[in-house]
């Protein structure tokens, strides 16, 4: 029998606390044999476990009791109250896990110290105090580290520098040559991403733009979103790194096509980020990384590719961040020349000959739908920019049909990207603003309407019937789909 039995009980049955909340509970000690103790301490710490070396946060220690003697049968009870950290939150993955622990230890001189430890679940809550800045660049979110089994040293740093130099000479040399060859064909390729600090479930968009210098064939232009756990065990040159893919999603926006010299290529990739608890994590031996790699695949030619790291953080962490400026409008003048013309698909353009009365009635219905839409837009603009108010307004109006006049910014092929509705997968995506307002809108159009939509040019006013899909908080934009007027 041990000298004493220890038990830790949290006040919450589910042991779940949000970042920044107070973790409360009780410690019970039952003395079995008479003993002397140098004190009872309570420790609070987060640690990793899994395939990688154990990393942990700074230990926070509280003295529950001073040194004293105990008699058999004595029962002690202590309450504790600790402020939970805000980061890292609990994570249970394949190669790595993060858990938060409360442990209690009775310091018995010259003997084994009785100890008990319990874990609790930390869910996202308050953002870390130092997590401020812009969503346009990765924000260092390294928690205060307490222990790690493999501290770096100067010799390792020198070896790493020598390796980097060798890497530069052996790999970067040919890579520079490759870059020049690619630039000779593709010109300058611009990859723009509006935000790199994002929350799960958010829509994330990147845009690639370039003006080919030559005419050539491409296999595809696409992007791969990859989330990966990485855990390193061992030290020195005996390290082994284990990786595990959490998420992989590929999106191709153009395939088997011929690009013409001088014609601007502007493609937009839109992902809905997975609703994941695998938030970006950067510890010495344990990481969770997210990156989007855009690739231009050309037959019999080296591929062009560029990776963009994305920092996925809990939604509540975005509270203290400033929104990045909207993605700059593409310079489409080269490919979108021509005078603006009016709607190609007039609303309710009934081809049948109907009575004047019916026409008047139809026109008045159209006007009402137009005005309803403008009214909704005005209400949305009056709602707070942050929070869910605008999203709720769009959700509430999701079943209605509206008439909209849209000032065209650009038209791209949907190529099956994030379009859930049949008949729209290979249609077009029209982006612009609602005429007479600054409200951005993106409309998925029907595949059957591709010919008409292809004729739209930047600056055109396009009038159509649509229904709302959702609200894109990232771009402050309405997502909608064109109504199939022939259906039903």
């Amino acid at each position: 029998m041990s000298k004493c039995d220890l038990q830790i009980k949290f006040d919450r049955e589910d042991r779940t606390y949000a970042g920044g909340e107070t973790v409360t509970g009780r410690v019970y000690i039952r003395i079995n044999n008479s003993m002397k103790s140098n004190g009872v301490t309570l420790t609070h710490q987060w640690r990793t476990h899994g395939r990688g070396n154990v990393s942990g946060g700074t230990k926070e220690t509280v003295e529950l009791e001073d040194a004293r003697s105990y008699s058999p049968g004595e029962e002690l009870e202590f309450s504790f109250s600790l402020r939970s950290p805000t980061y890292p939150v609990t994570y249970h993955g394949t190669m790595l896990n993060v858990d938060h622990y409360v442990s209690v230890e009775v310091n018995v001189p010259w003997a084994f110290d009785p100890k008990a430890e319990e874990d609790y679940v930390l869910v996202p809550g308050e953002p870390p105090a130092h997590f401020v800045g812009s969503r346009n660049e990765i924000i260092a979110l390294t928690p205060a580290a307490g222990q790690s089994s493999t501290p770096p040293n100067i010799i390792l740093a020198i070896l790493s520098m020598m390796f980097s130099l060798a890497f530069f000479l052996l790999i970067k040399g040919p890579s520079r040559f490759c870059k020049n060859v690619l630039a000779g064909r593709l010109g300058e390729v611009k990859l723009s991403t509006p935000h790199v600090v994002v929350a799960p479930g958010e829509q994330w968009t990147a845009r690639i733009q370039f003006q080919p210098r030559k005419r050539f064939r491409i296999n595809s232009i696409g992007v791969t979103l990859l989330g990966e756990e990485s855990a390193t065990s061992g030290s020195g040159t005996k390290t082994t790194t284990h990786t595990h893919k959490i998420w992989e999603q590929k999106l191709v926006v153009r395939s088997n096509d011929i690009l013409t010299a001088g014609e601007l290529v502007s493609e937009e990739f839109t992902f809905v980020l997975p609703t994941t608890a695998a938030f970006s994590l950067d510890l010495m031996d344990n990481t969770i990384q997210w990156r989007a790699t855009v690739r231009i695949d050309m037959p019999l030619f080296p591929d062009w590719s560029q990776a963009q790291h994305i920092q996925i953080v809990p939604e509540s962490f975005l509270r203290n961040l400033t929104d990045g400026p909207p993605m700059t409008s593409p310079d489409n003048t080269a490919s979108f020349l021509g005078t603006p013309h009016t709607s190609l698909a007039p609303v309710c353009a009934s081809e049948s000959l109907e009575s004047d009365e019916e026409e008047e009635s139809s026109e008045s219905a159209t006007q009402k739908m137009l005005s309803d839409f403008l009214q909704l837009v005005a209400t949305m603009n009056a709602a707070p920019r942050h929070g869910n108010a605008r999203g709720h307004l769009v959700s509430n109006a999701a079943d209605q049909i509206f008439e909209a006049a849209i000032l065209i910014d650009r038209v791209t092929s949907s190529m099956g990207a994030s379009v859930k509705y049949p008949g729209y997968e290979y249609g077009k995506t029209v982006t612009g603003t609602i005429d007479g307002t600054d409200q951005a809108i993106q409309v998925n159009t029907l595949e059957s309407q591709n010919n008409g939509i292809d004729d739209l040019r930047r600056g055109d006013i396009w009038q159509t019937q649509l229904t709302l899909i959702d609200w894109d908080s990232l771009y402050n934009r309405i997502n909608a789909r064109q109504i199939d007027e022939n259906a039903g």
Partner: protein, 203 residues
């Protein structure tokens, strides 16, 4: 809602993940008697020999717990950390990486030594007048020991009273047949198995 880690197996974590030095020391199952008897002699040396993954470090850490004033140093490849000047016995992990000068200096002192090494230093130590005991890290490794070691790892990750997954002697035999004395590779294989496990069952 996130559940507690591995609570569905009545465990706190995957038992075969990396451990801290303290956890590894606490969980070591090593017969230290002969080595401890030998270390009672003045200027004595115990060298633990074995290949990668055989349990040299675990042996050293288990022996270290018997000496309050010990000094431990691990020599990583390509690096030259200083040898601690204080503490006895002096435990040197990966002692085959000692430079000639360090070896000469260390072997000729009066400090008791415990070496974890791939290379046998018996002759050099005898020349230095040291009483030496060589222990093969895998000397007692067989199917039964593998069975005991792996189940001890599972026990160390226990969350509460009640049933936990158990590793059968048949699995231990298969692992021994596949990996020999390489305990580390067995642990890696079992990590994947436990990661897939969804119910408490024999493995």
């Amino acid at each position: 809602m996130t559940a507690l880690s591995f609570s569905y197996l009545n465990l706190r974590r995957n038992p075969f993940g990396e451990l801290t030095v303290a956890e590894r020391t606490a969980g070591a199952i090593v017969d230290c008697d002969a080595a401890l008897r030998h270390l009672a002699l003045p200027r004595s040396v115990v060298q633990v020999i074995g290949e990668k993954g055989f349990g040299k470090t675990t042996h050293l850490l288990a022996l270290a717990t018997h000496f309050a004033n010990n000094a431990y140093v691990h020599l990583p490849e390509g690096q030259r950390p200083a040898i601690p000047q204080l503490g006895e016995p002096l435990l040197i992990d990966e002692a085959q990486r000692l430079t000639r000068r360090q070896r000469w200096q260390t072997f000729r002192t009066d400090r008791k030594l415990i070496l974890g090494t791939h290379q046998n230093f018996e002759n050099a130590l005898r020349r230095a007048g040291r009483p030496i005991l060589t222990v093969a890290a895998n000397q007692f490794t067989d199917e039964l020991r593998v069975h005991t070691l792996l189940n001890a790892r599972v026990q160390a990750a226990r969350r509460a009273d009640g049933q936990i997954p158990a590793i059968t002697i048949s699995t231990a035999s298969k692992l021994f047949a596949q990996f020999g004395s390489d305990i580390r590779s067995m642990e890696h294989a079992m990590y994947d198995t436990f990661q897939q496990l969804r119910n408490i069952q024999d493995v």
